[in-house]
Assembly symmetry: C3
Homo-oligomer: 160 residues x 3
Amino acid sequence: MTTTSEVSTRELAELVEQRKIERVLYDYAYFLDMNLPDQLVRLFTEDCYVAYGPDFGATGRDAYRETLDGIGTFFAATSHHVSNVVVTFSDDMTSASVRSVLYAWHRYTKEGKADGYFFGQYHDNFVRDGEHGWRFARRELRASGVVDFHVKKQIPIGRA
Amino acid sequence: MTTTSEVSTRELAELVEQRKIERVLYDYAYFLDMNLPDQLVRLFTEDCYVAYGPDFGATGRDAYRETLDGIGTFFAATSHHVSNVVVTFSDDMTSASVRSVLYAWHRYTKEGKADGYFFGQYHDNFVRDGEHGWRFARRELRASGVVDFHVKKQIPIGRA
Amino acid sequence: MTTTSEVSTRELAELVEQRKIERVLYDYAYFLDMNLPDQLVRLFTEDCYVAYGPDFGATGRDAYRETLDGIGTFFAATSHHVSNVVVTFSDDMTSASVRSVLYAWHRYTKEGKADGYFFGQYHDNFVRDGEHGWRFARRELRASGVVDFHVKKQIPIGRA
């Protein structure tokens, strides 16, 4: 049990690294909402895997970058709200499993199309190296549910 | 005023313990959305008190567990988004008062029933011991407001 | 690269101070939702600048306080959900730039008026001194988009 006279260095190191990982999660949301795909993809490793749906994903940063071309034409605006962040580090702290919750609002460019809402979870694997810091090695988006969303099939959260 | 050359051990201990408490808050939301009530109740002490409304609460973990039976039959899906977490520790850091904000979306199993939305605050008392770490001793949900929600009477936040 | 045997004092100091800044962000939301404008304005410096829209802002705490009179009469209820908090400190850690994301729900006192929703970003400048701790020196609210919101013109987030 931590007391004020004993705080482990490991726990402090995890706090420091978690803050850096959260920064990447929030920069992802920021670059997405700002329609800055070139800055967004830099948060991913070159051999990353990204899955936004059972039929909608990409292997490798170049392939992932291509899927982002539509952000600016398909959406007039989006807002990504990330919370409930839980980080579990590997023993050597060079990788981490990260779970978070997403609420996202989407306004489409197509006239008359109702705003789309997404409720779900991100399940991410992060890795870090001395040159790039923490980056997404794998990002998977799972849906609790959607309202008027454009993607018809989602990866389910696996509710019991 | 904290400078880079002086960081108090107490402040660091609070950071470490707050991260653990946040983990419990987020696991609660996760187990709820995943419909895992048996794992959810383990986050509570045996003599816990839980209040979801003025006429809807439970004293003791066993009684609370019974109220959770309906999660899987009543809801087709839910999504709980917890943010604005503020933790105040007791002097000996074995208990804490925790305030947070909840946005929750509910899809009902009943056909034709509109999705329900909840906006409000959690007011929690946490306790910890060497065996279980931090657990909920008391959880109270207060509403700022609701949209198409199934519970008709809420504990108000007490807006002035 | 941080390891368990090396955590910099600067990084720890930033964690400690970030927690304090987040507390101010969350107290702002709390006082707003609780309709406690007198407590809310104490989170701001006397010469603060607050901009809620291109035509709706205030210079100085007294002028800002006047704009808050309508909270209790205009809104029946609100709920402010703040997440994605990114803090960048000045070298001497007496000021900080803070970016966060807001989802806000508004119920109006005017009968028949649909609830208003706001999706956007806060861009804040914080300063601290030994007497008051961290306070808002500048707060600017930018919109990704709104639904049935009462303010017709927003400061845009500047989406590319």
